[in-house]
């Protein structure tokens, strides 16, 4: 039963299994284990980014294609939900319509970009997605009547999911709509995550892996390499959009900084690379670590910078705004020294 749920793709390492179980149960009981607004925010963020990183891994890890448009697809889902809720009124109908519209738009964009670039060279894809994503980010910030520009906009979600909806008490915790909202995010993320796991372990996923290992050979065996890559791109984009929808639902807000920005794109890249490319489980580990680090480590940097304020260069290097510097270094080092990521390390037992 359990093996069927995870499509027979077991973590294949005891420590990894333990880590994943900790993450799973931690998230499942987050509202009760870690009371407090901040903790719940972090937990919801982790759910969304695990899904987002997993959908990116379908592309990067399973087909070897680098995309810089994943944050854009993520944003499409978020803006879909935001705009639908704003214009169609608060309600579950708007949420569902907005999510589906965002996912469809993302898949359509992915299809067009993929048709243009993947047929020629996979490397085109990286450059074209970067160009398109940045143009989209500029467009969204310019069209401020519709998108709220740089500030983004807040919107209302169904009352049942709001903090004002009190549903009683359980284990000393007030069960509000907010907690209900968290569980919507959690279970939808979980369902989509398991679907991704199913996809990569299906015959389709096996072909993707064959292509990643050796595309000439896959082509020679008779697989339509380009077609498989295009389909993977579209699925990946659609799931990213759905993750974006969940994020918007949770935040009740959409804006460029939380969805479209290059910084988000870097986060996604880092989550997948550090967790381990080519294993959906790696995305879960990477996303959890990154979100925790961002939430708690950045503060630590702040105090470190204050402590070293007397040493001019060091304090500048430790400034929380230089967070990206260290991420960049970490990123390069992980690509060089453990390209299989944490999961790869745990599996080989070193």
């Amino acid at each position: 039963m359990l093996m069927r749920l995870i499509s027979g793709d077991s973590p294949r390492s005891r420590l990894l299994t333990a880590l994943l179980l900790v993450i799973f149960f931690g998230l499942l009981f987050a509202p009760f284990l870690f009371p407090g607004v901040r903790a719940l925010e972090t937990a919801a963020r982790i759910c969304v980014f695990i899904l987002l990183a997993a959908s990116y891994d379908l592309l990067l890890g399973y087909t070897g294609v680098v995309s810089f448009a994943h944050a854009m697809f993520f944003g499409m889902g978020a803006y879909g939900v935001g705009l639908a809720s704003q214009h169609m009124g608060r309600g579950f109908g708007s949420l569902i319509f907005g999510s589906l519209a965002g996912a469809a738009l993302a898949a359509a964009f992915a299809l067009v970009i993929a048709l243009f670039s993947l047929r020629v060279r996979a490397i085109f894809f990286a450059m074209i997605t970067l160009a398109v994503a940045s143009a989209m980010a500029v467009l969204v910030s310019q069209l401020s009547q519709i998108t709220g520009g740089e500030d983004g906009f807040t919107f209302q979600i169904p009352r049942a999911l709001g903090p004002a909806n009190r549903m009683g008490e359980f284990g000393g915790i007030n069960i509000t709509g907010k907690i209900l909202n968290y569980y919507v995010v959690f279970f939808v993320s979980l369902a989509l995550f398991l679907s991704l796991l199913r996809i990569v372990n299906s015959p389709f996923g096996r072909v993707l892996q064959a292509i990643r290992e050796n595309d000439f050979r896959a082509e020679a065996i008779g697989y339509r390499v380009v077609r498989y890559r295009i389909i993977a791109t579209c699925i990946s984009a659609a799931v990213a959009a759905l993750a974006g929808s969940l994020f918007a639902l949770w935040l009740r807000y959409v804006g460029p900084d939380t969805t479209l920005s290059f910084a988000i794109m870097l986060d996604i890249l880092l989550m997948v690379v550090i967790g381990g490319m080519g294993t959906i489980w790696g995305a879960a580990i990477g996303a959890t670590l990154m979100v925790l680090a961002q939430t708690y480590l950045q503060n630590l940097m702040g105090s470190a910078a204050e402590a070293t304020a007397a040493i001019p260069l060091l304090s500048r290097l430790l400034d929380p705004d230089r967070w990206l510097l260290w991420l960049g270094v970490l990123f390069i080092l992980s690509v060089y020294f453990f390209p299989a990521g944490i999961v790869g390390r745990l599996r080989t037992g070193r």
Binding site: V66, A126, M127, A131, L317, R322, L324, L325, G328, I332
Partner: protein
């Protein structure tokens, strides 16, 4: 043996249609100029926009030329190229600010001297940085595109952040040297002095590059290496050294482009290189990966189109480049002048 000797000329066999198709990219810039003229309808506005578009195009070309060659020679795609643009701008502008007295003096000679020093300093620093980048970041990941993209993006971020560490977190505003401010008036059109200078520098550079490629052995090696690197080695040349040289030169050119772009905008930010990379990639893609001529034409088209559209329909300017890229790729999926790769 009745076969005719295979010595007859083959030149005449190229059908006329093919020749036009081959020359087509060369015609695109003139066509764009004419279409722009008709659409704008006002000669002086057209002239102003054209000069500004050409200036922008030249600066993008300077930044893009190194990238396209680096790709052509070793199949290396360096996302870190944008970092050299930013570093070039910061080093160059620091020189301009440091020599404020010369820059503010109303003497063309002193002003150009400042610009020259800024350019030399920027190119020296970015050239050195390019050399280090190649050794530390790029060399370990030859032949692996996925890793190349990831690692060079990492390099881009690190260098960009180091700019923040060195020069502080904020953008730097400054004024151009005295004599490069303002504009000439010509046929009722205002032509900014600095833009004219940018056009001149770009043209000189393009002509110089062509001469190097046509007339010198190193140029021949580079052109041949772009097509078939293995064969260049089998003839007895160390392609790796040539590649490192091109990488350094390309980085220095990116630095030059960065200084010029900074002087053009009169503001520099650590993220400017990253922003320019978007245009640079578009230019490299539509020009055809590995082709310097293609990049030149592509850059001019991007610059001109962006200026014309910004005048005609400001809202569309944001996506004009994406539109151009889409159109070119629909016409030629490999870009305008793709380099023949022997594979």
């Amino acid at each position: 043996m009745t076969d005719a000797p295979d010595h007859r000329p083959t030149m005449a066999d190229v059908p006329i249609a093919d020749r036009i198709a081959r020359a087509m990219p060369l015609l695109l810039v003139p066509i764009l100029l004419v279409v722009g003229f008709v659409a704008i309808g006002n000669p002086s506005s057209w002239l102003t926009l054209t000069v500004s578009g050409l200036a922008m195009g030249m600066m993008i070309f300077i930044m893009a030329s190194g990238l396209t060659l680096v790709f052509g020679l070793m199949d290396v795609i360096s996302f870190g190229h944008g970092a050299f643009i930013s570093v070039g701008a910061f080093v160059g502008i620091s020189v301009v600010l440091g020599l404020a007295e010369w820059a503010q003096a109303p003497s063309l000679l002193l002003n150009l001297g400042v610009v020259l020093l800024a350019v030399l300093a920027a190119m020296a620093v970015t050239g050195l940085l390019g050399w280090a980048f190649e050794r530390v970041i790029v060399k370990p990941v030859y032949g692996a595109h996925l890793k190349q993209i990831l690692v060079t993006v990492g390099g881009l971020i690190v260098i960009e952040q180091l700019i923040h560490v060195i020069w502080g977190p904020d953008e730097i505003f400054f004024a151009r040297p005295e004599m490069l401010k303002g504009a000439f008036t010509f046929w009722g059109a205002a032509l900014e002095k600095f833009r004219l200078l940018a056009v001149v520098i770009g043209l000189v550079l393009f002509v110089a590059m062509r001469l190097v490629f046509r007339r010198t052995r190193i140029g021949l090696i580079v052109r041949a290496g772009v097509e078939n690197g293995e064969m260049v080695e089998a003839l007895g040349y160390r392609l790796r050294l040539v590649f490192v040289g091109v990488f350094i030169a390309g980085s220095a050119l990116a630095g030059l482009g960065g200084v010029m772009w900074g002087l053009y905008q009169e503001v520099i930010t650590a993220g400017m290189g990253e922003e320019m990379m978007i245009l640079v990639f578009i230019v490299v893609i539509i020009g055809g990966l590995g082709s310097v001529e293609g990049a030149f034409i592509g850059a001019l088209m991007v610059g001109l189109l962006q200026n014309y559209i910004a005048f005609l329909e400001p809202k569309l300017a944001l996506i004009s480049n994406i539109g151009l890229m889409t159109a070119i790729l629909m016409w030629r999926p490999q870009g305008m002048m793709p380099v023949v790769k022997a594979k």
